[in-house]
Structures are given as C-alpha cells and as structure tokens.
Amino acid sequence: MNRLPLVAKTLRDYRVSVVAIGLTIVLMALVVMLVYPTYSEALADMEVPAGFEGFIGEAGDWSSPAGFLAAEFFSWIPLVLIVLAIIAGTGAVAGEEAAGTMDLLLAQPVSRRRYLLERFAGIALAVTLAAAFALPGFAIGKLAIGYDVSYWRMTQATVNMLPVTYLFVALALLGSSALPGRGAATMLSVGVVVLAYFLYSIGAAVEALDWMAKVTPFYWSDNSRVLAHGFDWLRAGVLLAVAGVLLALAVVAFERRDIASTGRAFRPWAALRRGRAREDAPGHRTATTPAHDR
C-alpha cells in the first residue's frame, strides 16, 4: 500500500508539467552556456539594463561566466518554478474544492493538517524534480565547452532556487486555505511575486532603496551570490523559516474553516450577502435552495 498517496497523486497530476519545465531548464542551461563565448566579448562593452543588477550582483559583471549564468538563467528560471508552485499550491485546496472532489477526500480518515502537509511535500518534490533537470544540462554544457564556473557552484545555485520556490508553495497553500476560491489565492500569490520582483529590481539598482530589495524573498535567494561565494545556509534558512510559518498559518486556516461543497468556492461572506439581499426585499420569502446546502 502506498504510504503517501497524496504525494504520489500530486506528482502524478503534475508529471507532464514537471517534465515540460524540466526539459525547458535543460535546454536553457545548454543554450546559455553554449552561446556565452560568442556573447562575452560583446557584453563586456554593454551596459547592464537598469533593474537587472540585482540578478548579477555579486557574480562579477555581466560578461563573466558566473554573471552571465546569473543573468540569463538564474534570473528567470526560479520564476518558472514559482509559477508551477502557485498552480499546484492553489490547486491542492481551492482547486479540489472547486472540482468538487474535496468532500470525498476529507471524508476519509485523514486530518486536514496531514492533507496539507502531504500536498506541500508532493508539490515541493515536483518542483525539486523539475529544478534537478538543470544538473544534467550544466554537466553537458560543461563537458562540451568547459564553462568557467565550477560544477559544484552550479549545483549549489540550482539547489538555491528551491527555498524560495517552497516559500511560494506555502504562500499558495495559505491563499487557498484562507481566501475564497482559487482565483483569489492565485491573485494573492502572483501579486506577491510581481510586487516582490518589482521591489527587488528597484532596491538592487538604487542603493538608497536597498531595504526594498531586502523585504523580498528574491534578495534572500540571490543566486549570483551563490555562484560567487557558495551556498548561503543562513539566507536559505530564512526563506525556509518563512515558508514554514506560511505553511503553519495555512494549516491553521484550513483546519478552522468549512470545506466548500461541490463546485462552490469557500465564501466566508456569502451568508452575509444573502442576509442583506433578503432585507432589501421585504415581504419576499425566498424558497430557493440555500447555497450551502444542495
């Protein structure tokens, strides 16, 4: 018997996405490394576009192998992983509710905490597998052209993409546990990504505003730093701690609330609105089916 069926189901549900993203990652790793020799000379004379410094930051300049890898690969591949994290995270709770499958799931003897933690583990594993595709990509690239960044550093930077992604898995789960419906959860998660990305770009470019960068997870997951100095346990630890707090909040929110019945989003204010509507129409007695009881 499968001990972790929800983990297995999550992996199964997203296996196509994991492979698709994984292949994109392999391909991008290879392309970035293969085009570097041609680009490096041209890049040496080129200004780094404003707002992009943060992603190259401590890896030297854009024309260096580490800088190029930071700017062309590690600046955006984590975002792809985060998108998968958000899709799967919002799907795990609000998605199952909207699909009407949550009732039967939670009617089984599984605690809501366990449900959420298993789902988190499944999604975390899925994004980890997708990220791991970078490793063979880098290996092939390195064998082919001998890129001047150690394979160990590349591996560390690849691992470093994960804590920030886990953080967004937890955020998506929190959104989907505390907010009405998958749409709201997605809006929250994507909103945070966009805002954080924006703040990080400004903060990294303007020294006086560097606090702006520091409040975003992207500062704490700076891959250029890892490529230059190695894996930073402290920064990764901060991200994992925040992810843990968000996940704990998600568990609390999910444990306390009602599960939406088939095909309906969980709507904390629906009852209030219905109450008002009735007051608006005095003397009108509604005989329709209440929304919460089909």
Partner: protein
Amino acid sequence: MTAAIECVELTRRYGDHTALDRLNLSVREGEMLGFLGPNGAGKSTTIRLLLDLIRPTSGHARVLGHDCQRESEQVRRLIGYLPGDLRLWGNMTGQGTADFFAGVGHRAADPAWTRELAGRLELDLGKRVSAYSKGNRQKLGILVALLHRPRVLLLDEPTSGLDPLVQRVAWDLLRDEVRRGTTVFFSSHVLSEVEQVCERVAVLREGRLVAVEEIARMKARAVRHVEVTFAGAAPEPGAIAAPNARELRREPRTIEFEVSGDFDAFLKALAHHTVADLRTEQPSLDEILLRYYEEVAA
C-alpha cells in the same frame, strides 16, 4: 446501546439563514434510516456536519460514541461516504481511484472484497473514470464508500443516476451490509425507493426535523379516503360514530369519508351498518410527506 449516529441540538447557520435548526436525531446501530426532505432542507448539511466538513454553529453530533468534531478522524475511520454530487478524477482508473482512497485513509483495501463489489455492481475497474458513464461513476462512488467495510454508511442520494436494475443491485448490497450490522443513513427524495428499503424515516423541512417515524405508523396515521357503499340507504349524517371520519361526498347509497388517524375505530363504527362495498386507497408516502411539509409551512 450506543446510537450509531446521535445529533443533539445540531445547528448550522449562515448569517441569518439557518440551514439546520436544532436537530435532535438518533439512529440505531444496524438500522437503515431514510432521510427525507425537499432540496435545501438541510440533508446534505447534516451529513457534512457529521463528517466535520463543516462546523456546527451550536450543538454536537456523535458517531458510535465519538464526537464528530473533536474526534473527527476516528469518526471518519468508521464511516463510508457517498457525496450527493460525486466528483472523481477523470485521469484515474476505477481501480486507481479505489486504491487511492484506501491509501488516503491509510486502510488496506481487501482485493477480494473490491473484486466482489465490482462484480456485483458490474463495474469494469480497469477503465478510466473519464470513460465511465454517469451511472458507472455512481457505482464507483458506492464501491469506494463500501471499500473498507465501514460500520456507518452516509449516503447522499445513493441511487441517483442509476438505472432501476442497478438500483436494485445497490440496495441488495446495502441490505447485506445492514445484515452485517452496518448502519445506513441515506438521504433521498425518491420515496418509492425509501418505502421499499427502510422501516424508519426522518423528515426534514427548512432545516427542521418534522418527523422521525416508522413508515408503517406514518401511513397508519395518514389521512385516507374511504368510499363506503351501504346495502340500503346511506345512514344519516352523524349516524356513524367515528369522530375521526369526515364526510366528503354523499350519494343515496354511498358516502365518501376522509379518515384520519385510527382506522380501526372507524371500521368498528361502520360495522353497525350493513356495508355492501368499501374502497380505500393506500396513502402514498408522497402524500403523507406533502402534508408534513404543508403543516410546517402553515
């Protein structure tokens, strides 16, 4: 004896709308109880409260002695559930679905029992759920509910979408479970079906329990129309001393009565006269329930 299901003042409100209003209900172990009421009466709300999918505003419920909120996981270990609007994942096979639900609850499914259930329901577990008809999906839902041989079955409209032949198979299966001591609590609005399979029903209307009664007694108390033809001229009005009979129509030799409650008293009163013919109709559960609903609404 512990009741299989016990609801005490169980209430659920949404703002100013009361979906379930102080429900007090006790279901005996090994009983098959039909839970009746129009749509929106609170049937699904009750079932979902028992499963801790939603939380009561006040009151509490127990399943085999375990509190449905505080000991929810234990409760759900004892329950097999079929949702009213069953949804499954199209990309899984029937077998995969069964294994998955067994796994989620950390219960080992008995392959022989699974095969037996699939065989009796004539369900091909090798197919994907997306390839199933609505009836087959419902069968799979019934199979999943019965998979771990639960002691209490909560079935929300179990036979909806099944053709009559399969309905019969499903009820046979459930009756076998009842014989083993399983309690079956099911909601329905198909009364003919309820009449056939269970002895007792609970009737819900607008969140309130309006009756819990044996169907036979319900019928006994129901209003019947009786057409009596006398050998001679019909007796004078008031000549038949039955206070629970009311004259509806009178012809020279025939009177139509409406008899409520004790039918025997009416027959005894009638026996003083020479009766040539007597016609009465079995009151249908529909009519009885309709009357219940109207009484509450009035």
